[in-house]
């Protein structure tokens, strides 16, 4: 589209070579640049009959299970792209240029890496994929810090980044990059989708107390929720920041008892959320009645794995999610079936978004007729598609954020099986969660994707 001309980096390959020679660096010179092909017009252009993708997921640390699920989905996507298995969502994805013979006729191969949910480790792993394994695309991650860090790296290096699970506004807000794309929804969308449901269930005029993880994602989430709940007439009593590494939130929960708050909003994710919710429930908050209203707890961002970790405590608690396996549309059914037959249990939302990202990337390459990042960017920008489980979806050109319906879910009261912990309460239509690309919460008018980078 608009800015897809190649970056005129001042340092071209020729300069680097000259510089390398000039500094008298001769040892090993012949092997230095073998990773990068001469004459190709973009970095790591696939030669031969295969193309390599980089799957960068947390394999150790607290989010290792999410990472493992992402990896399962990636492997499934690769299988389907190569024409093996039942094809999954490739059968429902439309419009689709995918042929089931790899991408652009090249068989898809992949390399994996461990992000450890740390920016440095994630970047090191992505660099290995780019420098050593010659990948044309990196995808994955399960936290916003990592997503933003790896997205920045891919932009500088000149490959495409397809974000995995990242919910912070910044990923496609102030830190948006031309080479990076996000399918997952974000904090703003969570707030906008939740508000009407909260209003319908809990009424207007409530007093909300926020506990917020004290870092970037927590803040954006808190801001979004504050704005959207205040818009339905709720009052924000207090917003308290809690340290990221905290295990025991009792000292933050106890003061809630002595305010006139009747709603607790937990802007926590992962282990933080599991602990804070478990502990809030044990303080008897949910049995309380304040000003004639039943005390309620809201968890704006849910995932099935988190819900399993919190056990019984999630029952009846509202939150939002990007996707859930119980959806009955054709795409979701096809994906759950395919994933279930392969692994014996249903996919998580992390698995879903990474599967979609892989298919979307492959499709864009087919339509662009090349793996060249700038070509892929052009093919993805403004692309409209359907059949991937979220209804009609659009990759907005201005910020590379997917716009689609958002699910509001609730912890299920009577689960019928071990995977059946969440139920979909409402599908909030896309129009309600849309915002302006120059919105202040997303970096304002200053935020820019910059130029695309082919890496040469």
């Amino acid at each position: 589209m608009s800015d897809t001309k190649k970056t005129n980096n001042v340092w071209s390959r020729r300069d680097i070579l000259k510089a390398g020679a000039a500094t008298g660096v001769i040892a090993g010179a012949p092997t230095i640049f073998t990773g990068r092909a001469y004459g190709a017009d973009y970095l790591n252009a696939p030669k031969g009959s295969t193309v390599t993708l980089g799957f960068n997921v947390p394999q150790s640390g607290p989010y290792a299970d999410e990472g493992a699920d992402e990896l399962r989905a990636y492997k499934l996507a690769v299988k389907h792209l190569n024409g093996e298995g039942d094809g999954g969502m490739m059968n429902t994805f439309k419009p689709s240029a995918l042929k089931g013979n790899g991408i652009l006729g090249k068989k898809v191969e992949f390399v994996t890496g461990d992000t450890q949910t740390k920016s440095d480790a994630a970047r090191a792993s992505a660099k290995r994929m780019i420098e050593k394994d010659g990948v044309v695309m990196v995808t994955g991650g399960s936290s916003s810090g990592v997503a933003v860090a790896v997205q920045g790296l891919c932009q500088e290096a000149g490959v495409i980044f397809m974000a995995g699970l990242t919910h912070s506004n910044d990923t496609t807000g102030k830190d948006r990059k031309r080479n990076g794309f996000r399918h997952f929804f974000n904090a703003y969308m969570s707030g906008a989708a939740l508000a009407p449901v909260l209003e319908a269930n809990y009424g207007t005029g409530r007093n909300a107390y926020h506990l917020t993880a004290d870092y970037n994602w927590g803040w954006t989430q808190e801001e979004s929720l504050k704005n959207s709940t205040e818009a339905i007439g709720w009052n924000t009593v207090e917003a308290v920041r809690t340290p990221l590494k905290e295990q025991d939130f009792s000292q933050y929960i106890a003061p809630v008892l002595n305010t006139d708050a009747d709603t607790l909003i937990l802007n926590h994710y992962g282990g933080n959320m599991i602990n804070s919710l478990t502990q809030a429930v044990s303080f008897g908050l949910r049995d309380k009645v304040v000003n004639g209203k039943d005390f309620v707890i809201v968890v704006p961002l849910y995932s099935r794995l988190m819900a399993q970790g919190a056990g019984e405590n999630v029952k009846g608690i509202f939150g939002s999610t990007n996707w859930h396996w119980s959806l009955s549309d054709e795409g979701s059914q096809a994906f759950v079936k395919s994933f279930g037959q392969e692994y014996g249990f249903p996919p998580s939302q992390a698995a879903h978004t990474t599967y979609c990202q892989t298919l979307l990337y492959a499709d864009a390459c087919e339509r662009a007729g090349t793996f060249e990042p700038c070509g892929v960017v052009a093919a993805l920008e403004g692309h409209k598609f359907d059949g991937l489980g979220n209804g009609p979806t659009e990759y907005r050109a201005e910020d590379h954020q997917c716009f689609k319906d958002v699910l509001v879910v609730k912890g299920k009261e009577n689960p019928s099986s071990q995977f059946d912990v969440l139920e979909v309460v409402e599908v909030t239509p896309r129009a309600q969660v849309e915002y302006d690309a120059t919105d202040a919460a997303f970096g304002g008018a200053e935020a820019s994707l910059g130029p695309c980078n082919n890496g040469v």
Binding site: N8, T31, A64, F110, G113, D114, D120, A124, R128, P451
Partner: protein, 366 residues
């Protein structure tokens, strides 16, 4: 006598330089000859060498050295943002800044010794980490890390590129292989300095403190200035390593300051051999190799590795090997720690010493 040992040191340094600069060649069979990992070898090698000046020579175990690594990185990135993409000012500012903080923290922490000293340094580093992650976000950009942006002023540069510019040394790009050679050059200088420090009267003094501080104190000798200097020097090494991380990859994140990062350099030093000149470097190399290479193995790569075996055997071997690589790479790391330290008290250098002895013995008998 003196000349002889000086000659030996020079041989060591020249040999060292040769080994470091030929890394792209001899790391090839190990699959580790790509720029990022070689940069990491050099950077963490430098970090460990500096750490060893404090721990190896004086015996004072700092559990908060990652703080200086982080401070170095943040300073360097701010230099890129505000001044210029040239790495020289960034490196200089980073070392100075790390030195200042090391002086302040060292001055306070060195009032205590042993475990009390360790916990003081740990406390300072954890405070730095927690603050950097949250309340200091305007300076550190918190969770997402401090990155370059298109809007940075960069007052000394009249750089008019379209995208985000690349770090350079007077025009030579500092990412990729040139970045590695820059790191390698600094590593060699750092190693040279550490050899000089170890051999100097100052180094002797530090070792004397290690062997018996109380006796030295009884003679009316004030050991503290020496310790503070050692702390500052090793803090500056850490700051330099942090700066190099930013030079090769302009991003600075708070996680670099966490206790696990401080613990990592402790482990590197002990694994290789605390108090030896080369040991910490070897330890750093091994841990980074495990982290970057073994974590990347998956079923597909394992099947390629063991492809020569008969099918059934291959499946079994791949299954077993799969437990120790990929998502299980920490298991391999833990087992390696156990095996090395059980059989080689004092770390990997002890193994080399034993090998050396073996060769000498067999040489003599022959």
């Amino acid at each position: 006598m003196k000349n002889e040992s000086a000659l030996k040191d020079w041989t060591l340094i020249i040999l060292f330089a040769a080994v470091v600069l030929t890394m792209p060649i001899w790391l090839k069979p190990l699959g580790a000859n790509y720029p990022d990992l070689m940069q990491k070898f050099a950077i963490f090698g430098l970090f460990a060498i500096g750490f060893n000046i404090l721990f190896g020579l004086t015996g004072y175990l700092s559990f908060g050295h990652a703080a200086f690594l982080g401070i170095g990185s943040y300073t360097a990135v701010w230099s890129f943002k505000l001044l210029t993409m040239n790495v020289l000012p960034a490196v200089i500012f980073a070392v100075v800044m790390a030195g200042i903080f090391a002086f302040l923290i060292g001055f306070v922490s060195l009032r205590r010794s042993g475990i009390y000293f360790s916990i003081l340094t740990l406390a300072f580093a954890e405070m730095s980490f927690n603050m950097a992650y949250s309340v200091l976000t305007p300076i550190t950009n918190g969770e997402t890390g401090l990155q370059l942006s298109l809007k940075d002023p960069r007052i000394l540069d009249n750089f008019q590129g379209e995208g985000i510019p690349i770090t350079n040394l007077f025009g030579v790009k500092m990412s990729g292989m040139p970045g590695f050679y820059f790191c390698a050059a600094i590593l060699i200088i750092g190693f040279f300095l550490s050899v000089r420090i170890t051999r100097s009267p100052f180094g002797m003094m530090l070792r004397a403190i290690k062997s018996n501080q109380t006796r030295m104190a009884y003679t009316g000798f004030n050991t503290r200035p020496y310790l503070v200097w050692a702390f500052v020097i090793s803090g500056m090494y850490a700051g330099m390593a942090g700066a190099l991380m930013a030079v090769t990859d302009p991003l600075a994140g708070a996680e670099r300051m966490q206790w696990t990062a401080s613990g990592e350099v402790v482990l590197m030093t002990i694994l290789g051999g605390a108090g030896t000149l080369i040991g910490p470097l070897i330890g750093a190399g091994i841990i980074k190799y495990f982290e970057n290479i073994f974590s990347a193995f998956n079923e597909q790569t394992l099947n390629e590795v063991f492809g020569a075996l008969p099918d059934t055997l291959q499946n079994i071997v791949v299954k077993i090997a799969g437990l120790f690589v990929g998502e299980g790479w920490h298991l391999l790391l833990g087992l390696m720690f156990l095996i090395v330290i059980i059989f080689l008290p004092g770390g990997i250098m002890e193994g080399f010493r034993r090998l050396g002895k073996l060769f000498r013995l067999s040489g003599r008998s022959a």
